[in-house]
């Protein structure tokens, strides 16, 4: 239980960090298009990766967030 809470907090911290990074010049630098990936400009493929990271975190979060509610009833 204690471990679950810690892991959940780590997931939350990671999600907040990803959001901050995405809104920083690291991802939305004005006019930056390189390096490209499969032809996609920099901001697009990096933001696709950060979106995937958030969904992966949602999956991980769903595993560690305690299930104490009606499931146990």
């Amino acid at each position: 239980m204690k471990n679950s809470k810690l892991l959940w907090r780590l997931c939350v911290a990671a999600a907040i960090l990803i959001i901050i990074l995405t809104f920083s010049p690291l991802v939305i630098a004005p006019g930056k298009t390189t390096p490209s990936l499969f032809g996609m400009p920099y901001t697009l493929w990096v933001s696709i990766l950060t979106t995937i990271a958030l969904v992966v975190l949602t999956y991980l979060g769903s595993k560690v967030l305690p299930d104490e509610e009606e499931d146990n009833q």
Partner: protein, 475 residues
């Protein structure tokens, strides 16, 4: 193409009728009719949530948004959706706990219970009414423009709107929430398939991904970075959009309700990441359609772009499926919004079950008429209109968030705070208040005000209640 349109529509309506028959029961209770017995499994739950979320706004608005404003549109919606599904894990768990403690008929009813005053419920219903009617109208508007472009002079635009509204009312009144869930599953599947068929054609026609983006760079290089050619996607616009989208499950009752009606917490958590995967797949397809439009139809109107990219540049079966896909997306999203308004009203109505159901059904009809009137008055900037709707409903977030997460009875000052924010936002739409204050956009400023004031209110009450022996008796 007409033959394929007819074939696809016959198939679609057959599936809808099947769903209606499967879900129809005589003598249903209002809880069964409006909330499907609150027992949705993972697949239906994820499909109905996704279908209520992705609509004509995604199908038409997003490709056009990419075409006109560039790749920042991904962060505007897809990244925000990624943050939203993560937020659902935490918020959905709290919401379900509160719904179990207080009973759940609708969010407005739940807030009335949490705050101990009907004003909390009225505030929620008012903001939902104010922004969901125009949001639902966006869908109707989108489809009427699209069908008008596909079949010019066959029917006036309002004729297409009327057909959709009549079908929507019939389907909702006969089938109830369960039928809508089935139609959402059908719609979600069609939406995903048809968007990728169209996107695949667009990529192929421009000679592959690399070639597509090279051609976009040659046409308008600013589309490939932020803030885009119209300077729209600055960090404030994107952050404001993120907050508005993350707050959708809090402030849009059709989405909040879908978290509560999942059969258990485990199913809701699985639903959250499934929606995230679905969002990535659906929105990714719209990038390529938008980029195709930027190369082939840079100066076209939205209507011309939609009819060419989604219909006339596609193979006939794909174009037929696109028409059905758009119609289905429109039908299920609008239905869910109108139905949610009906449910919110029901959750605040006192009296006998039959009387409540009767009034609710009358109001479903009235809401649908209002949607149709709005649809004939609004413009074609679908994505921006949707953002206004998301932002408007987000102003009321402090009421629901505090009601759901606080173990103490939240203060009525939160209702006043939300109303002030809502009034200022409405004034800015009317042009009475500037949309920029100093270096900050007004929506960011209002979020700072509402969330800051909410945090202070919750902390003060927690401290004050901590000194009272009966502090937690409100739970």
């Amino acid at each position: 193409m007409i033959t394929w349109v007819v074939i696809m529509f016959v198939a679609f309506f057959s599936l809808l009728m099947l769903a209606s028959v499967k879900s129809y029961q005589k003598n249903r209770s209002s809880q069964e009719f409006m909330l499907a017995g609150s027992n949705l499994g993972v697949f239906l739950g994820f499909m109905t949530f996704s279908a209520a979320l992705f609509s004509a706004f995604t199908f038409q608005g997003m490709p056009d948004f990419f075409r006109q404003n560039g790749i920042g549109a991904w962060i505007f919606l897809a990244f925000s959706d990624g943050a939203m599904v993560f937020f659902i894990l935490w918020f959905g768990r709290k919401l379900r706990r509160k719904a179990r403690e207080k009973g759940f008929k609708g969010v407005a009813g739940l807030m009335t219970e949490c705050y101990g005053t009907r004003w909390a419920g009225y505030a929620l219903f008012f903001s939902s009414f104010l922004f969901l009617i125009p949001y639902a109208a966006i869908q109707i508007r989108g489809i009427s423009v699209f069908f008008d472009a596909a079949f010019p002079q066959f029917l006036p635009r309002w004729g297409w709107s009327l057909i959709l509204v009549v079908l929507m009312i019939l389907y909702a009144e006969i089938g109830g929430f369960k039928a809508m869930v089935y139609s959402d599953a059908i719609q979600g599947t069609i939406l995903l398939v048809v968007l990728w068929l169209i996107a695949g054609t667009c990529i192929h026609k421009l000679g592959g991904l690399q070639s597509m983006f090279d051609q976009v760079a040659a046409a308008e290089e600013q589309l490939l970075s932020c803030p885009g050619p119209n300077k729209l996607f600055n960090w404030q616009f994107l952050l404001g959009s993120l907050i508005a989208v993350v707050m959708i499950p809090v402030t849009q009752p059709q989405m909040t309700t879908r978290l509560v009606v999942m059969k258990n917490l485990r199913a809701m958590k699985k639903m959250a990441y499934a929606v995230g995967i679905f969002a990535i797949l659906v929105i990714m397809a719209t990038i390529f359609i938008g980029m195709y439009g930027a190369v082939r139809y840079p100066a076209a109107t939205a209507q011309e772009f939609w009819s060419k990219a989604l219909l006339y540049d596609q193979l006939a079966p794909v174009a037929g499926l696109a028409m059905v896909g758009l119609f289905a997306a429109c039908l299920s999203t609008t239905n869910s919004q109108i139905f949610a308004l009906g449910n919110e009203l029901r959750s605040m109505l006192p009296g006998h079950e039959k009387r409540v159901m009767f009034i609710t059904k009358i109001f479903l009809f009235i809401f649908a008429i209002l949607v149709m009137i709005f649809a004939s008055l609004m413009g074609d900037q679908i994505a921006l209109l949707a953002r206004v709707s998301f932002t408007g409903t987000a102003m009321i977030a402090p009421i629901v968030l505090s009601g759901v997460i606080s173990r103490h009875k939240p203060g009525k000052e939160l209702i006043v705070i939300s109303f002030i924010a809502l009034a200022v936002f409405l004034a800015s739409i009317a042009g009475l208040v500037p949309s920029q204050v100093g270096p900050l956009q007004l929506d960011i400023l209002l979020y700072l005000f509402t969330f800051g004031a909410t945090a202070i209110s919750l902390l003060v009450r927690r401290y004050a209640d901590g000194k009272r022996p009966d502090a937690l008796t409100t739970q």
